[in-house]
């Protein structure tokens, strides 16, 4: 039904082939395309945004080094996600070993990592800024026209494709594209002043 993942995979295949032929800039495009998804994925394991970025970076480098062995049996992003998950798990394991000097398995490392008291390690001012960002996003969403709010929520929370949203909302796909973009723009306009110089670390 939805042809977009296929189009995305075609793009990945083309970029992977270019990297395998020695075009390093093509890997940069793959990095830009997947960096957020990989950082989010790694962060779900590590729960520390700063460390998550370092580990995600390591995962991308590992993927680059292993790319000549990538045969295309699975989609590139599946392969990349697997590398990212393994890198995150190995990182947790080695960190736990460093701190405890005990042999523990990966599941134990994840349990330790998921303890709630270990999560709120941000500086208080950073935590406040983050709360302000979340609050701004929520307020802006609530002020959006109904059709824009529904479109962005179906996309972000339900993970629906534009085509599926168009069917659900009984409108053309082009309208869905426009509604989602305008919703993002409205949030972005409120968000930009809160992010220092746009460089959010």
């Amino acid at each position: 039904m939805n042809s977009q993942p296929k189009i995305s995979e075609q793009l990945d295949e083309e970029l992977v082939a270019r990297v395998q032929q020695g075009d390093k800039k093509a890997f940069d495009l793959l990095t830009i395309k997947y960096q957020y998804k990989i950082i989010q994925l790694v962060n779900s394991y590590i729960k520390d945004p700063s460390e998550a970025q370092d580990v995600a970076q390591e995962a991308f480098i590992k993927a680059y080094r292993a790319l000549d062995t990538f045969r295309g049996d699975a989609a590139f992003y599946t392969w990349l996600y697997r590398i990212a998950i393994n890198t995150a798990k190995n990182y947790l394991l080695s960190r736990s070993r460093r701190s405890s000097h005990f042999e523990i398995d990966i599941q134990d490392a994840e349990k330790v990592e998921n303890l709630p008291e270990l999560h709120d390690l941000d500086a208080p001012d950073q935590q406040l800024a983050n709360e302000q960002i979340i609050e701004t996003i929520k307020q802006t969403i609530n002020l959006l026209p109904e059709e824009m709010r529904t479109a962005i929520m179906l996309r972000e929370l339900e993970g629906m494709s534009y085509e599926e949203i168009a069917v659900t909302m009984d409108c053309p796909v082009g309208t869905v594209r426009s509604r989602i973009f305008r919703a993002r723009e409205a949030i972005d306009n409120k968000l930009t002043p809160l992010l220092s110089n746009g460089d959010f670390r």
Partner: protein, 183 residues
Amino acid sequence: MNEELKQPISELFDNELEHTTALNLLTKIQDNAELKQVFTRYAIISHALKNNEVLPIANDFSEKIAAQIDKEVFYLNPPRQTSKRYGTLLALAASIAAIAVIIPLKLSQQITTPTTIARQSDSQNVIQTTPILASSKKNQRENGSPLNARIIDYLQAHNNTIYGSDQVDYKPLAAVTAYTGAK
């Protein structure tokens, strides 16, 4: 300036952009810090909506990776065809194995027929080696060693004198080998 590219970036973020357009846009984002920031902010919004938390993302994340990769070994090789390569190696191994079996068999057959050896050597060598052949056949019968027979055959096929110098006590290496082998 980049306002008209913001909607395509939103669509790219959702994987809803056509192949060629997506590739062109990614290339533009790669070279434009402003567009990269837009892409980053859309990612922050997305994560905040889904998880109710802020995930900071450095703007230079991809640049750091690119810098690291620039130091890496250049990839020139296309993907290897494992199955074809494996087949070729298997065929090569089979050929070597066949040669290793057939050649000694042939050689041992040649030793038992003096006329074959005569065809392989020049006429002078045949005259010189015929007595040795007789004794080698006798030795082979006595100790039954095919290796020894092969060494003797080698000696018959080559004129031993070319391995020796004019020194009186110098023994040709091949002859010494034959002696050791016979022992």
